[in-house]
């Protein structure tokens, strides 16, 4: 594989990780909970799309929208029935709850659809390629990833900047106590951010399925990569996560090409090194409260 192709594919994979990392940090920012169920929730929603296509014969886009809606509901469901009932929760307790949700959903998916690998394809294949410039070969999949990532990030940026609920979400992230005083129902904001995160997660997972296979475990590794990307970006800033995703994707792709055996590990090694030098991530901002 030539250098240019590695670069493009790495960036595309990085964009997927970045998108999925967004799903992780949206929840982290509102409630400081790291959602370890994010990968499995996305996996489950992809299975919904799979179910619609294979068993009911719906076209892909209908199934895609159905799975987006399902993902939103699943997010609210998990927040409402698993996290909210926790009495006087500690952060660690909430994180353990998300691990429980992860196990539960993985078990459910295995029971419903079986642990085998299923045939699931999205309309963007990475075997169809375009030649943009001499030497630069871009697959249809990569083009789709870039366009979708761009659209999602633009929508997110506009949403957080200009809508009332977006501003309320940012306010809640920064100071939950003051947000409550302003009359913001912070519980609802948390539920909403779970739905939001789940929807973005399934979008990213759809794109990732094109490169892997569909089975109940397929999101575990991408989730860890995305989480690593989020940590690298500082867990707080949206551009940080995207850049972190890009870095993880590139490292993985280049080292994977040089020595495939090391592919899954290199990215994590680099991250450990980066975190040794900058423990709060590359783009974290810290505000000190002024008295």
């Amino acid at each position: 594989m030539p250098f240019e192709q590695l670069l493009i594919e790495g960036l595309a994979m990085g964009a997927c990780y970045g998108l999925f990392g967004l799903a992780v940090i949206i929840i982290y920012k509102t409630s400081e909970v790291v959602n370890f169920a994010a990968g499995t929730m996305a996996m489950f929603s992809v299975y919904i799309a799979f179910h619609f296509i294979t068993f009911y014969g719906f076209p892909f886009w209908v199934a895609f929208i159905a799975s987006l809606i399902f993902a939103g509901l699943l997010g609210v469901f998990v927040e409402f029935f698993f996290l909210r009932p926790a009495k006087n929760p500690t952060l660690l307790g909430l994180i353990v709850i998300t691990i429980g949700v992860q196990l539960l959903l993985a078990g459910l998916a295995g029971w419903k659809w079986g642990a085998d690998q299923q045939a699931f394809s999205i309309p963007f294949s990475y075997q169809v390629t375009y030649k943009l410039l001499p030497g630069f070969v871009v697959s249809q999949w990569a083009v789709a990833v870039f366009i979708i990532a761009f659209i999602v990030v633009t929508i997110l940026a506009l949403f957080f900047k200009f809508t009332k609920i977006g501003t309320a979400m940012r306010a809640t992230q920064q100071n939950k106590y003051a947000a409550k005083i302003m009359g913001i129902k912070t519980d609802r904001i948390t539920a909403f951010s779970w739905a939001f995160s789940s929807v973005i997660g399934v979008t990213a997972a759809m794109l990732i399925t094109a490169r892997t296979i569909l089975d109940p475990e397929f999101m575990m590794e991408p989730f860890l990569r995305a989480f690593a990307a989020a940590v690298l970006g500082g867990l707080m800033s949206i551009p940080g996560v995207l850049i972190g995703g890009g870095i993880v994707g590139l490292i993985e792709n280049f080292f994977g090409y040089l020595s495939p055996a090391w592919k899954p590990i290199t990215a994590f090694v680099i991250i450990v090194l980066v975190l040794c030098i900058r423990p709060s991530g590359l783009f974290a901002k810290h505000y000190v409260k002024k008295v």
Binding site: T167, A171, A179, M182, G183, K285
Partner: protein, 260 residues
């Protein structure tokens, strides 16, 4: 307008408020005074129902009425909507939002755009500095400016009753006076009733029409500021004017006050 009737608030097994009753009449500036740990902030938080997370039934006993309606079991968002604005202790602005966004979020519970716009102009009229700093991140402003922002933000919900928790905290005397003048102005021009919680007893007595003195979760004095100013105990322990020496010549540190 606000009627607090014999409320008790508990932090786990510790009773912070031992049955507090007071009343605020429309158009007044009422001061709630007391030293550290007297229960001033707890009173305000109980009124706003901010202990809901801790325990659903707070206050445990007693009732709170606002405009003739009971609010002691209502949600904070509803209470804000009914017209109570709260400026929390230590300002609590949203540090990464701009000044403008901070002010806009204050009107979160409202839907009338024209009214919000008019109120925004009003806030900028009271605090011209905020207009200059419109696009700045709130966390980067000075303490006094943040305090002004917190008051402006609370005004955006168009409150009938504005509750201020230690507006003078950490401010220079000149700035404190400026803020108190603005509060007086808001009270007179906009007709907003004010409940003022202060440790700076001298200042608070100057600006209020009525004052309550809290000690260990109980109200021990309730009177007009002119009367309280002349009270021997208040003179000695809160205003720092040492007048009386005991027979033996020791300085007294505390006089036992009976609960009334």
């Amino acid at each position: 307008m606000l009627k607090v009737n014999n409320i008790e608030t508990w932090y786990d097994l510790i009773r912070a408020l031992h049955g507090i009753s007071f009343e605020i009449k429309e158009g007044d500036i009422v001061a709630l005074l007391g030293s550290n740990g007297a229960g001033k902030t707890t009173t305000l938080k109980t009124i706003m129902r901010l202990f809901y997370d801790l325990k659903e039934e707070q206050p445990e006993k007693g009732t709170i009425e606002f405009m003739g309606e009971r609010i002691d079991r209502k949600d904070t968002a509803e209470i804000v909507k009914m017209g109570i604005g709260y400026v929390p202790e230590g300002r609590e602005v949203f540090p990464e939002l701009t000044v403008m966004e901070n002010i806009t979020i204050g009107a979160y519970t409202r839907n009338d755009r024209a009214g919000v716009k008019a109120d925004m102009e009003n806030v900028f009229h009271h605090f011209p500095i905020l207009k200059e700093r419109k696009g700045q991140q709130a966390g980067l402003m000075s303490g006094g400016e943040q305090q002004m922002l917190a008051i402006g933000r609370a005004l955006m919900s168009r409150p009938k009753l504005l509750m201020l928790d230690e507006p003078s905290l950490g401010l220079s005397p000149i700035l404190t006076k400026e803020i108190f003048d603005i509060i007086k102005n808001i009270n007179e021009k906009d007709g907003v009733t004010v409940l003022l919680v202060e440790q700076n007893v001298n200042m608070a007595l100057k600006y209020s029409n009525f004052a309550y003195l809290l000690e260990n979760g109980r109200i021990v004095r309730a009177d007009k500021p002119e009367v309280l100013r002349e009270d021997e105990d208040i003179k000695e322990f809160y205003l720092g004017i040492a007048t009386e020496q005991s027979v033996k010549g020791y300085k007294r540190y505390r006089r036992k006050v009976r609960f009334r």
